[in-house]
């Protein structure tokens, strides 16, 4: 070994001492921190309107909320001469989701049962039904409103009525219920089914007494979310239920009030009393959505036996 060779060897540098590696490392760390901050900013930017909305409507809603608003109907309300209330709208919305659930839940749950229990994943009929259900889920709600208006209100001569709205809403709700039911039932472990069959049960008995019971939390979650969606709908109801200043007394030929109409229409009237009703209606809507979401996502998950 010559002296010159020795000199070359001693110039080797370890990676953590190399200045290029160090600066590169620092750059990567800074980039990482910058990205973390950007992610945080994104979360804040999105949550800010949400929290602002909740605060605004809670604050304004609670300040106009009174027993009278909840127990009077909107008659005369919204022109500055009297205040009126939103009782008819609350009752109407509840009536509508009750009726539409009555139609959609049996249809949806049992369709889901069929798809989950009696067909395999690749059965042609099942795939067709699933595809159709996806298509139905993608129909814009205003198009459903059009169909409801033309088919039920005009063609069948039901007029603006609770029934026309209920059927339209059930078309809206059906895909969600079918999908969640099928998924919940498929998630029930086969071991349970095998145990039931080993004990001599028939398929229908097994489904009704065992599988459904296990799948129930998931099914209820799906139903509650479908209910929450239809409670918040406006477009299909605008053309099938119109509005009524009084409490509903008939299912056909009588329009029904609903909360989202008040928000849509009364927010545009230039009277403070109308805006107050819109705040109250928004508050009731948000509370309902909040409670349903909380219940469906948090509470029911705890009760899921799977």
């Amino acid at each position: 070994m010559t002296e010159s060779n020795l000199a070359t060897v001693t110039e080797v540098v370890m990676p953590w001492q190399d200045s290029r590696v160090k600066s590169n490392y620092r750059r990567r760390q800074i980039l990482d921190k910058v990205m973390k901050v950007l992610a945080l900013i994104a979360v804040v930017v999105v949550l800010f309107p949400l929290l602002d909305m909740l605060y605004l409507f809670a604050y304004k809603g609670l300040s106009v909320l009174s027993i009278s608003i909840l127990t009077e109907t909107t008659s005369g309300g919204g022109t500055g001469s009297s205040t009126g209330g939103i009782e008819n709208a609350i009752v109407g919305s509840c009536l509508l989701i009750g009726l539409s659930s009555l139609i959609a839940v049996p249809l949806g749950v049992f369709s889901g049962v069929y798809l989950a229990e009696f067909t395999s994943l690749h059965n042609k009929f099942a795939e067709a039904i699933r595809f159709i259900s996806d298509v139905l889920a993608g129909v814009p709600s205003i198009v459903l409103g059009y169909v409801g208006f033309l088919a039920f209100v005009l063609y069948l001569h039901w007029g603006y009525s609770a029934m026309a709205s209920a059927v339209t809403l059930s078309i809206l709700m059906l895909p969600y219920i079918i999908r969640t039911t099928e998924l919940s039932i498929r998630r029930v472990p086969d071991s349970i089914r095998e145990g039931a069959i080993a004990l001599g049960s028939t398929k229908s008995s097994m489904i009704n007494r065992l599988t459904l019971r296990f799948a129930l939390p998931g099914i209820i979650t799906g139903v509650m979310l479908a209910v929450s969606i239809s409670f918040s709908e406006t477009a299909p109801l605008l053309y099938t239920a119109d509005f009524n200043n009084y409490l509903p007394t008939a299912l056909f030929h009588q329009p029904v009030g609903f909360l989202t109409y008040i928000v849509y229409v009364y927010s545009n009237l230039p009277y403070q009393s109308a805006h107050n009703l819109a705040y109250a209606a928004s508050f009731v809507l948000l509370s309902f959505v909040f409670v349903v979401n909380l219940f469906a996502r948090v509470v029911l998950k705890r009760f899921s036996k799977i």
Partner: protein, 328 residues
């Protein structure tokens, strides 16, 4: 093999019958839409898709073409609405997707475990907010904010770009785009979060072992793995934005002409449909109703295509996260 008991067979066929209700509903929708839109398709043909003039001309006389009645001087062209729908959804995607991805990254990579659940809950809560309430908030808060703060600032600093110049108004392009972005963020964020959470830990651990920072793991491991699902989520969000009616109707400004700047009023297909149906039956020829239903058909076809494409990407395993969130 033992014969299936009668109750089982009855049960099976009855539930199969109930399945057919979905088919019945689709059939009703198709029937109604085709029946009412046929006159408009026949009379206007391709002009419907290329004209900006939407004029029902209700005070004119009834004239005929192919035996179908319509008003003389009337013209139905959906170009303004079509552009408005696409443009507002485009802005929604442009603004919403990066934000959603950032939120998803935050929830899966950055956030401490304890705050993931509450933040997820809040993001999904945003999806459940009724669109009229969002529109009302837009009227009360977003509109004035745009008119007095954001748009003047944009006009001052970015006014040299033609799109950003001009008189500022509160309701229009930007307001609609922002509200739609707010609506698609929960969808895209939730699905992306679920997809990203499914990345195998070995891959992430391997990258970490090689000395990657958190961001590099995300960029080089998680995002490529979740690419398909994220793309599907974006398409689902797009489908939601295209079909959204009420919130946009409240902040769109209902323009009759194509917008000239980002601040101009726009009009979307869904908003115009929501506004005009109940006034359209006064048309003695019935063409106004038919034109509106043709708008409905076009909107339905577009959203259906988008949704079908999306389902191809968002596969069965990820549908669970879409269950409670999707409202496309």
């Amino acid at each position: 093999m033992p014969k299936t008991p009668l109750t089982d067979q009855v049960y099976k066929y009855l539930t199969a019958l109930l399945c057919c209700s979905a088919i019945l509903f689709i059939f009703i929708i198709a029937l109604v839409l085709i029946k009412y839109s046929y006159p408009s398709f026949a009379v206007w043909g391709l002009n419907f898709f290329t004209t900006t003039v939407w004029n029902p001309a209700l005070n004119g006389n009834i004239i005929y073409k192919y035996g179908i009645a319509y008003m003389s001087g009337s013209s139905y062209g959906m170009l303004v609405f079509f552009f408005g729908t696409l443009a507002s959804s485009g802005i929604a995607i442009l603004l919403g997707v990066p934000t959603s991805l950032a939120i998803a990254i935050f929830l899966t990579q950055v956030a401490p475990r304890r705050i993931v659940a509450p933040i997820s809950f809040l993001v999904e809560l945003l999806a459940g907010i009724p669109s009229v309430v969002l529109g009302f908030w837009g009227l009360l808060v977003l509109g004035p904010f745009l008119l007095h703060s954001l748009e003047p600032a944009m006009s001052t600093y970015l006014g040299w770009i033609p799109l950003f110049s001009g008189h500022v108004y509160s309701y229009g392009f930007i307001a609609s785009g922002l509200i739609l972005a707010l609506m698609i963020v929960p969808i895209v964020a939730s699905i992306s979060r679920d997809v990203m959470a499914q990345t195998p830990t070995e891959l992430k651990e391997g990258a970490k072992a090689l000395g990657s920072t958190n961001w590099e793991i995300t960029r080089k491991v998680v995002l490529p793995y979740a690419r398909t699902g994220i793309f599907g989520a974006v398409i689902l969000g797009l489908g939601r934005a295209l079909g959204e009616t009420m919130a946009v109707a409240m902040v769109s400004g209902f323009a009759h002409y194509l917008p000239t700047s980002l601040y101009s009023a726009i009009n979307t297909m869904a908003a115009e449909m929501a506004l005009s149906l109940d006034g359209s039956f006064t048309d003695p020829s019935g063409m106004y109703v038919s034109a509106l239903v043709e708008l409905a058909v076009v909107l339905l076809v577009i959203t259906m295509i988008v949704n079908v494409v999306a389902r191809a990407f968002v596969k069965q395993g990820f549908v669970r996260s879409a269950e409670g969130v999707i409202r496309v």
